[in-house]
């Protein structure tokens, strides 16, 4: 690769993957996707569409049957660099209770760096940094089981951050949380992205997709829709075909528009809709 080329954070080229052998079991089909450094990408798709498989391909937990997966230029197939790749790509999964390895928050965050042989002084610094980044520094010496679901997921994110990743993947990390917990986790993720972290989220909450720079929709292992949230959510019929939906606010706004209410296009959030409705009714 010529050194002057801008490096992509993640690049998938014609990737195919299937679990086991058999004809119709392909989970990812000839998929190409690249993610820029600092981008916030949201992956949507119905159950079984290949979203989680895609995430595991990106950090080398799974290797493609054909095609290439590169993370900052390192190929996941290359045995020498796969550990580099995993250090660069931090992942947080769905269930907060399955991701704690230690009894005390501090030890849990230290687990990753300890494993890759970071010196003890630096581990201390990394714990400081990681817990601060997720707003959990006050809970450093608290037992993990005393935390709420949202707090546990934030500690899980801190555990990933302690390895100083370049890319953070949240694979339905808010699915098991209550509304406050969901908000906490998304706020932390967005803040990290604002500070330059490349962020990939996988979710079923359409609401969480609206803040992304780009949304891709997976269907049977292929990317079928791709664009900004405004572009993607302006195609409700397509989305329904792929098991998805538009956010409720968008649904209401579109229906109002069809009935002749002069409301602007591209409304994605409840807050936007509320504001727009207030304006409309006041200028009526």
């Amino acid at each position: 690769m010529p050194f002057f080329k801008i490096m992509k954070a993640v690049e998938l080229k014609n990737v195919s993957f299937k679990y086991g052998s058999g004809e119709n079991l392909a989970v990812i089909k000839n998929l190409s996707l690249s993610v820029e450094k600092g981008e916030f990408l949201c992956v949507l798709g119905e159950n079984g569409s290949g979203k989680s498989t895609l995430a595991k391909l990106i950090n080398g937990l799974l290797l493609p049957d054909s095609g290439e997966v590169e993370v900052f230029g390192s190929n996941t197939k290359d045995k020498k660099s796969v550990y580099e790749v995993r250090k660069k790509v931090g992942m947080v999964f769905q269930n907060p209770d399955n991701q704690m390895v230690a009894t005390i928050v501090e030890d849990d965050v230290a687990f990753g760096p300890e494993n890759v042989g970071v010196s003890s002084e630096e581990i201390g610094e990394r714990i400081d940094f990681a817990l601060k980044a997720v707003g959990m520094e006050k809970f450093r010496f608290v037992a993990g089981q005393k935390l709420s679901g949202g707090q546990k997921q934030r500690v899980a994110i801190a555990g990933a951050l302690a390895l100083k990743p370049e890319v953070l993947i949240l694979d339905e990390s808010t699915a098991m949380l209550d509304p406050m917990g969901r908000k906490e986790v998304m706020q932390v993720a967005e803040k990290l992205n604002d500070e330059g972290m490349t962020l990939i989220t996988i979710t079923h909450y359409m609401k969480e997709a609206v803040k992304a720079d780009r949304v891709v929709v997976l269907h049977e292992g292929e990317i079928v829709v791709s664009g900004t949230p405004e572009q993607v959510f302006s195609r409700p019929e397509d989305l329904k075909k792929y098991g998805l939906d538009v956010p409720r606010a968008t649904y209401i706004a579109e229906k109002l528009k069809k009935s002749g209410v002069p409301i602007k296009s591209g409304i994605l959030t409840e807050e936007e809709l509320g504001e727009e409705l207030c304006k409309l009714f006041q200028n009526r």
């Binding site: 798709g45 119905e46 159950n47 079984g48 769905q94 709420s148 679901g149 949202g150 339905e172 699915a175 098991m176 949380l177 209550d178 509304p179 406050m180 917990g181 079923h204 359409m206 329904k240 098991g243 998805l244 939906d245 409720r248 606010a249 649904y251 209401i252 229906k255 109002l256 009935s259 002749g260 209410v261 409840e270 809709l273 509320g274 504001e275 409705l277 207030c278 409309l280 009714f281 006041q282 009526r284």
Partner: protein
């Protein structure tokens, strides 16, 4: 069956010095025919409460009756034995669907998985009766028996797996169905289908009462006729969802959020426009349209 709980209190590790009250005087009535919603933050006591309903957690203090079952554990040894035996009957009447029930599927085929529940609750049933009940349960959850019966449950989609798990619970022919976050982790279309399945079961009388625990206020608003808010092990409010979300100035509610219709009602009220919130998002949108073109 009517469910009446009075001052239900429960601590995990009651005698240990780190014990904490998960339930702290929960009082609540669920009537037969309700499509009941239970909401509250993580740790507010929702799950502990529902596990009392079919005797999975023994009563510590307070009273609980589920239909004719009194769940107070008798002190005398003999009576206690009879009580524990009667729990099996209660468990067939109160079907419990836990979070992510598809993780509990285990058999090689869908038919065998559902048959496990049938054989458990109807030990004297003949093979023919078992087959009949299995087929009925699978069809009740909207799956094609001929298509799925001999398939491995693990080859089905997420939404279908969850249906199989619910079929396993319906196999005992419960009167009340309790579901802990039934649509968590499903894509929007599967979610809608599962909710409408629950309504079909409820409307056609297959189950008389449905109780759901949910973190999605829109789901509660759109589906339930009554709702209870849990906070620190107590039921702090029990009413219709509409009146609950219209009186949003409440600590617990401010943390749980509002359904979109109630949020818009509140926002518009702020500028002097009154549009009543509705259960169905379609009805609410129509009200908005009507209001906008009114007196023009």
């Amino acid at each position: 069956m009517q469910i009446i709980s009075k001052s239900l209190t429960f601590s995990y590790n009651e005698k240990a010095n780190f014990s904490r009250r998960a339930l702290d005087g929960a009082t609540l009535t669920v009537n037969e025919g309700d499509f009941f919603g239970i909401i509250g933050e993580t740790g507010s006591g929702k799950s502990t409460f529902i596990q009392h309903l079919n005797g999975l957690i023994p009563l510590q203090s307070g009273t609980l009756t589920v239909g004719e079952f009194n769940l107070t554990v008798p002190k005398k040894r003999k009576e206690k034995k009879a009580f524990l035996k009667s729990l099996k009957q209660l468990r067939s009447k109160v079907g419990m669907v836990f979070q992510y029930p598809e993780y509990q599927l285990f058999a090689e085929t869908v038919r065998e998985d559902v048959a496990f529940g049938v054989k458990n609750f109807f030990p004297n049933a003949s093979q023919e009766e078992v087959d009949f009940k299995v087929k009925k349960a699978i069809e009740l959850v909207g799956l094609d028996y001929n298509l799925v019966a001999e398939k491995s449950p693990f080859d089905l989609s997420g939404g279908q797996k969850r249906r199989v798990a619910i079929a396993g619970v319906l196999a005992s022919e419960p009167e009340t169905l309790v579901l802990d976050e039934p649509v968590a982790g499903l894509d929007p279309v599967s979610k809608k289908r599962l909710m409408s399945l629950l309504h079909t079961l409820h409307d056609t009388g297959v189950v008389k009462t449905v109780i759901i625990v949910s973190h999605d206020m829109n789901d509660v608003m759109e589906n339930c006729n009554r709702v209870a808010v849990f906070e620190n092990g107590k039921v702090v409010k029990e009413c219709e969802p509409k009146s609950l979300f219209e009186n949003y100035d409440d600590y617990a509610l401010s943390r749980l959020g509002l359904p979109v219709t109630a949020y818009l009602t509140k926002t518009l009220k702020g500028v002097g426009v009154n549009v009543e919130s509705s259960y169905k998002i379609e009805d609410f949108t129509n009200k908005l349209i009507e209001k906008y073109f009114e007196n023009r």
